[in-house]
Symmetry: C2
Subunit: 277 residues, 2 copies
């Protein structure tokens, strides 16, 4: 099924805009997992089993697996396979922020869509759409382009104002939003990454791009506000946001009750989002 | 040894600005390798043995290994280990074009500098220097930031002109060059990626950044011109360029003589570069 359809269905089925970031860290997962053959995968399994009916998507970030080399990458594959075998209604977004020249992007596209078989991937805009064609050509897969990131120093380049004689000048992140929505999205498979930590910028991007889905990291540990995110980011149909939380859910408890506490935190977060829909 | 020292030494020892891109592709390597347990690694080994005295660095691109999942990533590790064991004078640049928020970049930094133990990595500028601190803080490792990429559509965002009342307006890629050289480089470990396919832009970047090393992809298959690259990119000391070629060397022949032909092509390429130094 096409990513966007799978996502729409999961949002309805689970009445949820919450995406759980599967970012396991050997230093933070309960100590008992360290003796397992595949500690990251076993931890993820417990989190997935505890939250699969509360989320619209899962989002493993590749960096947390690559940190352990091939051993970690294998556990990323096991994680995606587990979701697809036991909770196949949940789409999986690979948060990988990739971007190279076109011939090289074929390799990353094979990693995401053949080896892992995820439903979507996050991508860097800096090389432009011509370079990203190997991803964009997968019309059934989601291509989620960094627009305004959630980090403190995001503005260094993203806020630079582009000179434009023909029309009003605007910052780079709005140029990215405009380009992606008007010329990259011919397969109707593009979305944007917009950090919850910048609600004013989120509002401006929503004004420029009324119909597109946004993947919104930055609530929870990073401090983004749920009410402002929903208020400024929702589409008119009360959807259009995939709001991601990782550490606040994964590490709600560091004890044996971590999965139960993760479920409680995920449910509370989902319900708080729904208050503002 | 610090990356920049290792690089300077290899340039002198091998009288070379040539960097060979170790980008093996299962569809292009000689058929005989496909029966090997680690075909990409065995192919790389033959290329490395045939070229190690002709290069200033090797540059494996992570995408070509990730395309095969954990099996490929393991062969990337074997490749880096092989260079460090048998040809330790050759620095290794991981071409990975990574970039995430700071806490996540710790994972990518562990992948590059702990798991693989490479000497340098290529990075995306879009999230700004605050996000890239986990890389930049490794003062002994090279951080090579995308400035002007070699692909046809590079200009979509990189050429956008930044409005600046205080001084002359300039395109985004020059803003990146300026920021990296004036404020990111406190550990003296930054370099820039500048495509050989854009000699005029290369000239402008060299004017703004007279002292920094540039990693220059785009000669060979991509069509960049060696004379123009050297003429516009060299520093006053006749160094300052790492000029990368992958496919033109790796696949100089598809027969059993591939390693011999790769050596001939690498030598001819190195010597042509030296004509213009």
């Amino acid at each position: 099924m096409k990513f966007s359809q799978k996502l729409d269905q999961a949002i309805i089925d689970n009445n949820s805009l919450l995406c759980v970031g599967l970012d396991p860290d050997m230093d933070k997962i309960p100590a008992g997992f360290k003796a397992e053959e595949h500690p990251l995968f076993e931890f993820n399994k417990a989190i997935i089993d505890a939250t699969h009916d509360l989320v619209c998507a899962y989002k493993p970030n590749s960096a947390f697996y690559e940190a352990l080399g091939d051993f970690g990458v294998h556990q990323l594959k096991l994680t995606v396979e587990y979701i697809q075998t036991y909770h196949e209604h949940c789409p999986v977004i690979l948060d990988a922020k990739r971007g190279d020249i076109d011939s090289t992007n074929n390799g990353y596209s094979d990693f995401a869509f053949d080896y892992l078989n995820v439903d979507a991937i996050t991508l860097q805009p800096y090389l432009g759409s011509e370079a990203l064609q190997p991803f964009l050509n997968h019309s059934d897969k989601g291509c989620i382009i960094l627009c305004r990131t959630s980090n403190k120093g995001a503005g260094e380049f993203q806020d630079l104002v582009i000179a434009n004689e023909a029309k009003q000048s605007q910052p780079l992140y709005l140029e990215v939003a405009k380009q992606v929505s008007t010329s990259w999205n011919t397969n109707n498979n593009c979305m944007l990454v917009v950090g919850a930590t910048y609600p004013e910028e989120l509002k401006k991007i929503r004004e420029v791009v009324p119909d597109m889905f946004f993947l919104v990291p930055g609530i929870g540990t990073q401090g983004g506000d749920i009410e402002a995110t929903l208020g400024n980011g929702l589409r008119k149909d009360k959807s259009g946001l995939i709001i991601s939380s990782s550490r606040a859910i994964l590490y709600a408890s560091s004890d044996e009750d971590f999965a139960e506490k993760a479920r409680e935190k995920a449910m509370a977060t989902r319900d708080e989002m729904n208050k503002y829909r």
